[in-house]
Symmetry: C2
Subunit: 344 residues, 2 copies
């Protein structure tokens, strides 16, 4: 009798069978999925998911995005190549994107309904599940640096608004005038969104999305995840999306992997996307790619959520999974680098 038949009969008989190994976390991959040997490092980044179509993106703008993604990969890879920590690599990669007005994070953050920039960020260290989140920052140059400071320098995980700004300033992080975050492109987007709202037109998906993130595996086998965003164009009521919600937008655990999300944040919170991918992988012993596909397509996607994730596991497998038309993304490891924007 085959194992499948055996289990099927047990299920028919109402007997539920689970056969756990002593350390199931380390046994999730079959021979086909497991790389021959773990790569020395892996870095994966995203610059937001959404309606990104080839016909809408000029050649020169596409080239700018590709250069920006490569610059972020360069910044993180340098650290990993020199034997640095996943944690340092992801912060370096994310900060490169925060400083670039192309992305909806830091410098290029979108505007709220009231014409402000309110930024959220979070970070998680797979070694000890330590985490830091900030929500609603208006004057800290690097929100991801603020999230990291919360993780490392406070007894808290989640600081918000004026309090988070005060804490970041006390930690010596760079404070900027809110006008630093003004970009004409985002200001125009806000005006369009306000016009659309007046006419009771739906916001375009493009207005809802935009986040940057990075996940990495270092040579010590540690994973870490970081996410940073300017939120949603024309957002009201000091809305937070999934980015500052540990387990929704960001999660890292050396037993499972590191995940950073981008997309329609409300759905990522409701589906606890980042932690659920880790849980499906850890507890159902599926591959990282399978777990991510299941959560993004079969759970959140079916409910109407749009967006994507990047992820890496301690064995060096990585995934870039999205159900939107495009996602700015890339990965780099010792033997290969790729930067992609569209589905194909």
């Amino acid at each position: 009798m085959s194992l499948k038949m055996f289990c099927f009969l047990m299920a028919l008989a109402g007997i539920f069978v689970t056969c756990d190994s002593p350390h199931p976390e380390h046994m999730d991959m079959d021979e086909q999925q497991a790389p021959a040997s773990r790569p020395e490092y892996v870095l994966v980044i995203h610059g937001g998911a959404g309606v990104i179509l080839r016909e809408d993106l000029s050649d020169s703008l596409e080239a700018e995005y590709r250069a920006a993604l490569n610059a972020a990969l360069d910044a993180g890879e340098k650290i990993l190549k020199e034997g640095g920590l996943a944690l340092d690599a992801i912060v370096a990669a994310v900060q490169t994107m925060e400083d670039n007005p192309l992305f909806n994070a830091g410098r290029g953050a979108v505007f709220t309904h009231d014409g402000k920039n309110e930024m959220d960020a979070s970070i998680m260290d797979g070694r000890d599940l330590n985490a830091g989140s900030v929500g609603g920052l208006t004057n800290i140059k690097s929100p991801i640096a603020a999230a990291r400071a919360v993780m490392e320098k406070s007894e808290h995980v989640f600081l918000t608004g004026r309090g988070a700004e005060q804490f970041a300033a006390e930690q010596g992080l760079e404070v900027v005038d809110p006008s630093y975050f003004y970009t004409e492109r985002r200001w125009k987007s806000l005006q369009q969104a306000i016009e659309a709202e007046k006419k009771q037109e739906a916001m375009t998906p493009e207005m809802k999305h935009g986040t940057v993130g990075a996940v990495a595996l270092d040579k010590f086998g540690n994973v870490a995840a970081a996410t940073s965003t300017g939120g949603m164009t024309n957002k009201h009521y000091n809305r937070f999306g999934d980015v500052p919600v540990i387990g929704a937008g960001t999660y890292a655990n050396n037993l499972a992997g590191a995940i950073s999300c981008t997309g329609h944040g409300e759905f990522f919170i409701r589906y606890t996307v980042a932690h659920d991918i880790a849980a499906v992988k850890m507890y159902q012993h599926k591959s990282l790619e399978e777990a991510a596909h299941e959560v993004i397509f079969d759970k959140m996607g079916i409910a109407g959520g749009e967006g994507g994730i990047i992820a890496v596991d301690p064995q060096g497998n990585f995934a870039m999974v999205f159900n939107s038309p495009g996602m700015y993304r890339g990965y780099t490891k010792p033997d290969k680098r790729e930067v992609k924007i569209f589905k194909d």
Copy 2:
């Protein structure tokens, strides 16, 4: 060969075995755990976990707490008995506790370092994973009502600070002067905490804890969870704990159950406690009690986190699990009610 031996040999051989039934979510319970028939309804509540010792609680104060817990059970049970929804029952139960200065939520919220009351709350509906969270409210009488309004009346999940207050007011929720939340007992606690901070003494666990919550199963088989808190005495920097973090302090899913947490919030965020309990139950097919025990004791507890959870699953099993000396708690179902405070 026994099944266990079979699986053990498979594990030795490096072959990982999982035997999924077509709908494993509905098959997690063995004959011993499954109730003969699902009770018509179950309501479970908590009023916070912490260092609650018999010798520290006067007979009269203990009687007050027991009466308050019974009043909350009464309010929710009335709705369930009349065939109402789990969602309505948990809001009624939580509001009873928000209105009672005994608990650290609503009226009895603790003070921040700056002498304010900043309240957080969240709610989740197991039918469709819809959710609502609010953080940092200072003038809304019932924070759980605000969380519910976010869930039902906005396209968002998580609103914070002034924006959340504005939204709640626009929805017609009762706005109160912040002095409504002044209680002498909490003011004294703040002064003690500030003194302790000056002397660089550690805060007592009592200062860190305090939350109210409810979970319920209704006659339709729906589960829902709600949590509300005043946060941590003497908190700085607009800190949020786990309460407004869906997946950490609150989670509900008709496939798994509903969970509401109380305790040292930072640990509940890092361990994504509420969603992890649901995930262990759903994906590893453990009972609700086993799943909760594993997450509270073997994961979060080992890392130093203190607190507890209440939970109910769609089959009517419920759990009240905590690793602190005590937890104000109670449950009620058609044939039985209990209210408890201490470990025994």
